[in-house]
Amino acid sequence: MSETLKWNNTTLVEQVERRSGTPVGACLQCHKCSTGCPIGPEMDYLSSQIMRLVQLGEEEEVLASRAIWLCASCEACTTRCPMGIDVAGVMDALRIMAVERKVAPPGARGEEFNRSFLGSVRRHGRVFELGMMTAYKLRSGDLMADVDKVPKMLAKGKLAFLPNRSGRSKQLREVFRRAEEEDKQQ
């Protein structure tokens, strides 16, 4: 039994390891990450199952899962993994791969939210909440959500009508453009 165990599809595990910089192949299924995951009850696959699917090369299953979009990035899994796997970092890598390969499941609103949020940053340098929320609602079609909060937020001064611009917007556009170029070299 001196032979090293080979995963049946090394491409996926290697890609995820390279992108996340963390040894997904070392996961021994102790389920500590899943046990402490706050969003576990709503996930289709628990985080330890995601690690296993990555090892097994089940790319479609993993990238189209709702779990990767439900991860709250709370880092409890990363903090507690006895094998030193940055589980939350793996979720980041999987979300990025899912968007690149256009396999995000319908109803995975995380991507629509992320695009709306970063669009606001690109335009203004900072997040302009009212604009970001409107963009997100249009993208997700979830028009009525949280509408009841708006009067209260306005009354409490928690929503601005105009963006608070920062920095030189041209410089920031260049930053985003160069970041996209760097990402393409992944």
Partner: protein
């Protein structure tokens, strides 16, 4: 003591009271804050979920801007704090990350601008004993559940200034200003944070779990140190009750608001009125009355 202050986007909108109370408390203690000029968003969770290079480059832009001030950074938002620290960690530990961040920002950066959270500054830099000595109106009889959330302590090798599973610094700080911290099990449980708009059901469930446990532990309020936690526990509290069952309302003030009251600042100076689950009746006996503040005495 001087810091380059990074407020972050939330502190200009949903968490303006966190900004106001942070500035007021620092001013009262003689901690000098200089705003980082033209700071930009740290990218928060949307950036690290979307682009590995942007997730480092956006914080690095701010770290570079802070370099000119020549003082360590103080952040208030837990997410900004974690993103700035993570960017430093990556730039220091991975040459590839440093090269990429410098290429994107077109400026050199070595990862060496220190970044601290306001709670760390108050407890570990300024010191609990010095704060205790400045208390004018102790928060006697106020039972507080200290809620640290995720990103002040996780992942520990990058962000933690306290124990990642059982932090105590906020408890010690609030005890020093006269409050009574309660023992409760969810100090570092996640509130759902960035999922606030995209997975609202989960966020309401988590808010319900946290708030009802705080009540069960005998707390009058939950002290928070992160604008995302605050929105989920405060603004969304009526939804949490509606969807997952009723419990007596729990105000969720920022730790800086509570410390400020004990230092004798007025409720107005600390933005107490911004809390949507009102803490007015709970906190009415603490802090300097607004009328005295208006009189300038």
């Amino acid at each position: 003591m001087k810091y380059a202050y990074y407020p972050g986007c939330s502190l200009e909108s949903t968490a303006w009271d966190f900004d106001r109370s942070t500035r007021a408390v620092c001013a009262a203690l003689g901690i000098e804050l200089e705003d980082i000029p033209n700071w930009v968003c740290c990218g928060s969770t949307p950036a690290h979920s979307t682009s590995a290079s942007l997730a480092v480059a956006l914080p690095v832009l701010n770290l570079q801007k802070a370099q000119a001030i020549g003082a360590p950074i103080m952040a208030a938002c837990a997410s900004c704090y974690a993103r700035l620290r993570t960017a430093n960690y990556k730039v220091q530990h991975e040459s590839k990350e440093r090269r990429r961040a410098e290429q994107i920002t077109q400026q050199p950066y070595d990862g060496n601008v220190p970044v601290h959270h306001v709670l760390d500054v108050l407890v570990n830099h300024y010191g609990i004993d010095r704060i205790r000595a400045k208390v004018e109106r102790p928060l006697e009889g106020l039972r507080v559940a200290c809620y640290y959330g995720c990103l002040l302590t996780r992942p520990p090798e990058i962000v933690a200034f306290d124990n990642p599973e059982h932090p105590t610094c906020m408890d010690e700080l609030l005890a020093a200003v006269g409050a009574e911290p309660v023992e409760w099990p969810f100090k570092t449980e996640c509130c759902g944070a960035a999922l606030s708009m995209t997975a609202t059901y989960s966020v309401n469930r988590l808010a319900h779990k946290l708030l009802s446990m705080a009540r069960e532990a005998g707390a009058d309020c939950v002290a928070v140190a992160c604008p995302l936690c605050q929105v989920n526990l405060d603004l969304r509290q009526p939804d949490a009750k509606r969807v997952h069952g009723d419990f007596p309302g729990v105000p969720a003030p920022y730790v800086t608001q509570l410390v400020g009251l004990a230092l004798g600042l007025s409720r107005r100076e600390l933005g107490i009125e911004a809390l949507t689950v009102s803490a007015a009746s709970l906190l009415e006996k603490y802090g300097r009355p607004a009328t005295t503040a208006a009189g300038g005495s």
